[in-house]
Structure formats: C-alpha cells, structure tokens
Symmetry: C2
Subunit: 406 residues, 2 copies
C-alpha cells in the first residue's frame, strides 16, 4: 500500500466539480449554459491596450525568466494604484506578483500554518480558502455573515466565538475577509472593517483582505479598502488582474504586505523564498498588466462600461430570482454573483448538491452548490452572461423547480 | 510571538541568493556577468513561430480561464511528442500542464509526502528538489553520483544504502533522476535507467524523471527517456517549454503520469485536485507551446541550431576550465552547465560560498556555489553566454583564483 499525503485529500474545488458531467453533455451535442465560473473574459474581451502591451512584450523578447517577486514596473504599478486609489502607504518592495490570488493563498498558508493551527473565515466563503488551509494541516473557525443584514459581518458573534475558545488563541493565525464578497456581493462598511481590524489585532491574527473585485461595485455601494485602516497591524492585501482588468487567463495576482512590523517583514521574507521556488510568473503577461494599471484613462473607460453592464445583468437576475417562489437572494452591490437561498422545503431534493447536479443533467444549466461555500441550501449563479442567456438559464431553473416541487 | 510554519524555513533557492548583491553592484554602475541562471531566452530569442502563435491566441481572445489540467491541444501535443520521440504510451489525459516544472514538483510533494517521509536524490542535485520535499515535512536520502565515472549513477551504492535503512522502507516515497543532468551534464545510459527502475519498483517508490533538457544533448550523447522503460511501475515524467522550447518566461511545465496502476491513477487524481486550487495556467502561453510542439519542422530547425551553438560554448568553457590549475570539470554531454571542482587546498577561502560571494563582489561574475547542489567545493557555471562573455568571465575567475591562491 502506498500512503498518500494525509492532508492532500482536502484539495477540492466545488466550482468545477460538475465539469466532467458538463463535458459529457457537450460531447452528446447539448449546449450547456455555464454559470459556474466567474470569468468576465468569456463575455467581455480583455481591453485592446492591454493585449497590445502583451504583444509588444512578446515581440520585444520579454520571454525570459523574470524576478521571482515580479517585474519592477508591475510591482511599482500595483503599489502606486493602492497609493492613488486608497491612500495606502505601499511601495514596490511590498508587492509580490503571484500566479493569481490562488498562488498567493498557497504561499500564505504554507508560511503561516502549522498542523492544528486555526484561521477565521465567514461563511458563505470563497470555496478555495478552506482547502488551502487544510492541505497545510490547519483547521478553520467559521463564523457566519448575517443574512438578515444583507450578509454584513456580525463582529459581536465573532468576538464571542473567539472568547469561548481561548485555548485556541495561540493557534489563531489569520482572519480572511473578501470585500467585495464572492458569493454574496456584499461591500463592507468602514465601521465593520475597523471592528475586524481590532479583533485581528487583539487576537494576534494576520488580517488578509481579498480585494479582487474592488472596482466592481454598483447599486450605490461605496468601496473602502482595508489597506489604509489596517496600517500598523500585520496584514496582507490580495488583488490581481483577473477581475478588475478582465484578464483571468493571464494568471497575475498581487499580494501587498506593506507593514513595517516584525511579523509583516518576516511574512514577506518567507513568501519571497516560496516565490523563488517556482522561479517566476509568466513574464510577458506582467508587462501587459503593468500597462493595464498605469494607463489609468484607458482602464477607467473600460471598467466603467464593464461595471455598468454587470450592474444591469446582476439586477436583472436578482429581480428574476426574487420573483420566483423557490428562491430568494440578497441584492448584490459588488462582484457578479447571485447567491439565492433555495426553498428546500418546497423542493424534492435531498440537498443543494443534488439540486445542482440534476439541474445540469436535466436542463443543461451549470451553477455551483452553496454547500461548497459553507451554506447548504443555497446556490451560486454567475451573473455575467448577457441578459438573454441569463433569462434562458433562469427560466430553465424555474421550470426545473416547478417540476420538482412538492 | 507569532509562530511561522515550521517547515517554511526550508524554502530557499541558492541560485538566486546573490541577486541582492548583484543588484547593488549594478546600482553602482558595475556590469555583472550573470552565469547563475540557466536561461536560454536571454541569449537566444524564442522562435518566431511560437511568438506568432502566442500573439494569435491573444488577438483571438484566448485570455480567459482554461482547464485546470491544461488546454486539450497542449495536453495532446505533449502526449504525442512522447509517443513520437520515445514510443511512450502516453495520452492527453495523462498530462498535467503546470506553471513550470517547479509547480509540478510542489504538487507532487504535496500529494505524496507526509511528515518524516523520505525521498531519494543523487548529488549534485538540482537545488529546488530538496526544499520542495522539506517544506512538506519530508527528509531526503542523498546518494552521490560517481564523479570518477563522469557523474554516472552508482546503483550498487544506492542499493546498499537502502538496505541498511530498512525501517525507512515504508516511508520511502519517491526517487528523482534528472536526465540530462543539471548541473553535471550527464546523460544516463539505458542500463543505469533500468537498474533505477528496478530499485524504485523493489522499494515501492514512485520514479520521477526530470527530462527538461531532453533535446539538449551533444558530444555524441544518445538520449533515452525513462518513459518507455518504466512502463508498469508508478512514475512521473517532468518536462516543459523552458529549455527545449527556449521559453523560460512562459512558465509552461508538463507532468506526464501514464501508468494504469492504482498508485499512478490516484496520484493523477490528487494532482488534478491541486491543479484546480490554482484555477489554471496562463492560457495564451499554452497555445504558443502547443504550436511550438506541433510544428515539428520549425522546432527541429531551431533546436538543432541551438544545440550546435550550446555544444560549442560548453566545450569552449570546459576546455578553459580544465586548463586552469584551480578547477577541473567533467565534460558535459547535455544541458548547459559546467560543474567544476575547485582546488580548495590551493585557494584561501573558507568554502565555495565565500568563493562565489567574493568573486561576485571583486570581479562582477555571478555563479552558484556547489554546496547549493549538495557538493561543497564545487561551483556551477552557466555555459550559455556567447564565447566572448564566457571568455571574459573565465579569465576573471582565473585572475581571482590567482590573487587568492596560497
């Protein structure tokens, strides 16, 4: 018998778990409506000025290894973006360029987590946070956002939970927030962010803020990055080119560690060593993203159009969902997902997993089960496709619910 | 006190450890001759037909997420390359596309290694193998290649070592070979490969063959991939676009797991789950490499010229090194490194680390210490630069040795 790694069994991604079924359907000539992956580049072409910069880098011979931490122009662009937009005290040296935020999360967990260490998340959570912790031997402490308060954070409840479990205190490593939130679309208020910072500080946790959707807010939301508020406590800001810059396939993520405290410095040093183990990130893509950030005028033109379109689609989908008697969703104010609660009592399914699996097989609509986000009885629907596709998909979901209602 | 992960202290890359010193020198106007990183794209432009394919993918809008395992055309291209070149029974489904071989190594270690597990390496080894194991809690068993026999493998000695340590047997996870070898330039004979396969089989180890330099052989070497010989035992073949396709900055690696046995299948399944955790590899680069492989005529034209040039440069450097009274190197037959032994008795340095550090500071020549490869008293010199640069660098090393000789 060959013993595989004990923790490797925790690696899983619920967003893609039905891909094999979808592929089989497509092989049989079905057209699957894929509302599972949040990929803007499928519906909105990446902006031409970024493609041009990418092509230029290739033609100029930038096909060689680059600095493991990322090329200087991109690190500087990322830092200056945070200085410009959020008044953050970030410098190029505080930035690590990664293969998407996913790789940054892997590095962070590898560097911070020993077996049986703990980290704090709120559910519904982005599904990959948990396996990234568990494959390093850590265990999650999972609090719940308050659905009654539009999925806002309930810091009192978190405080109580942490106080109850005082012997874990030494093992508390970090606290993650996703702002704007995937899957709920919540945009956190400065007051909530300040309370979280206080909690992270009091419990000696590193605060990790995943801000990958920070420019994708709408319905009047005003976005606050935690970066300015968190100055003075160890924290990591995560962001990247995938969402704001509509370039998922480039795989360019950023981790910003601006703290001058000893924990921040040591995190940065250890993450740099991990970065060296994989040599570097795709070099020409980094030049494309540097131009993507630095050409503010072009970017702003693009992101405004993109967000206006997303707002329309999301609001259309939210309205349709809330007209259904089988589902109910909080109105999102950021990102591009709908996270409706299913009325499971009126539906003849064992759970949300069965719902999603049968929906795909019967109606060729692929969405993701809420239990993958820590919320059984919910589903996540990507609101990026054009209105006619969203409409078709939501009509099919409605028919599907009707057929399977009690 | 914040406790960082116990194992994260093992992350280190000796090839880049002097980069900060080199940067400082350059900031002071010095021109550093960098013979530390094995990057062909610095000296030989990546072929135009691959750049064209990359640009085409970008212009056609292939900027979105792709399959976590890699795009089908590239997986098929990699499999067909192994079928064509080595008669390997590999199919597209056996191939995982990774962010360079480095990421494949991280996945493999994450999937195979529990705390205190063991893996077998030969020294001098590629420096990143060891941290990739140790950050997962594993411990290396390190045998030595036989320098007397041109750094060939001494399987008898390995057998003896494994027999002596029978209680480790259950913990033996894998055995790695690098063929052609970095840093020694050795190309293994089929007889040695067969013996290694036998040993891996007898001890229940997965055989990992890093073949990233498989098309870069010269001086009459005949290359044999282990892939055909290893059929029937669990094994993983590693390769990628960096060296044979002269595209280091693309970060495209391949792991091929063709076995139909249960260990191979389970490895493949678990590695696929890790691949999903980082969503995908840079999408347009995958199209470029698919074309790179599939356009065999163009590729062959390019690789022949590249290897002919490398052969000249390596042989020139080897000759100069062996004319020195301070160094002696085995003649390489593959890859593009020289790995001379320093005559430490005649030099006034504590160790190879001091040698390398002082050489950089005094002569602006950056090379890598042999102890980073498990061989104190040696250095690794990259033989890729044009003859005049190699000559200047070797002259400076010679002067440096003279000044510091006893």
């Amino acid at each position: 018998m060959y013993d595989f790694s004990e923790f490797s069994k925790y690696a899983e991604n619920p967003i893609e778990e039905e891909d094999v079924v979808a592929e089989r359907l497509e092989a049989h000539g079905k057209k699957v409506l894929k509302l599972n992956r949040g990929d803007p580049a499928v519906y909105f072409p990446t902006m031409k000025y970024m493609i041009d910069a990418y092509v230029r880098a290739l033609r100029e011979g930038n096909t060689r290894y680059s600095d493991p931490m990322g090329i200087k122009p991109l690190r500087e662009a990322v830092a200056s973006r945070y200085r410009r937009m959020y008044n953050t005290e970030a410098e190029a040296d505080d930035v690590v360029i990664t293969n998407g935020v996913s790789e940054a999360l892997m590095f962070i967990n590898s560097v911070l987590v020993n077996r049986n260490d703990k980290a704090v998340f709120f559910r519904p959570y982005y599904p990959l946070y948990i396996p990234d912790l568990k494959i390093n031997g850590g265990n999650p402490i999972i609090e719940r956002y308050s659905e009654e308060r539009n999925w806002d954070i309930d810091t009192d409840s978190l405080e109580r939970a942490l106080k109850k479990d005082l012997k874990s205190r030494k093992r508390l490593k970090y606290l993650v927030i996703t702002n704007p939130n995937n899957p709920t679309g919540t945009v956190l208020e400065p007051s909530a962010l300040k309370e979280l910072i206080e909690i992270a500080k009091n419990h000696g946790m590193v605060l990790i803020s995943d801000e990958i959707y920070d420019e994708i807010t709408f319905n009047g939301a005003r976005y606050t990055s935690v970066s300015k508020l968190a100055e003075g406590i160890p924290h990591i800001i995560l962001n990247g080119a995938s969402k704001d810059f509509d370039a998922t396939g480039f795989r360019i993520g950023f981790a910003i560690i601006p703290g001058k405290d000893s924990v921040s410095k040591e995190m940065k040093r250890r993450i740099a060593e991990y970065a060296k183990l994989r040599l570097c990130v795709n070099t020409p893509a980094q030049y494309a993203v540097a131009e993507g950030i630095n050409n503010v005028a072009e970017h702003n033109k693009g992101i405004r159009k993109l967000v206006a379109e997303i707002e329309k689609r999301i609001n259309f989908a939210a309205k349709r969902i809330n007209e259904s008697r089988y589902m109910e969703a909080v109105q999102p104010r950021g990102a591009y997902y709908l996270f409706p609660k299913l009325d499971m009592r009126s539906l003849r399914f064992k759970d949300d997993r069965e719902f999603v699996d049968r929906l795909l097989k019967e109606k060729s609509v692929q969405i993701t089960r809420g239990s993958g986000f820590g919320e059984p009885g919910y589903v996540r629907i990507v609101g990026l496709p054009p209105k006619d596709i969203l409409e078709t998909a939501l009509n099919r979901i409605e028919e599907f619910c009707k057929v399977h209602s009690r």
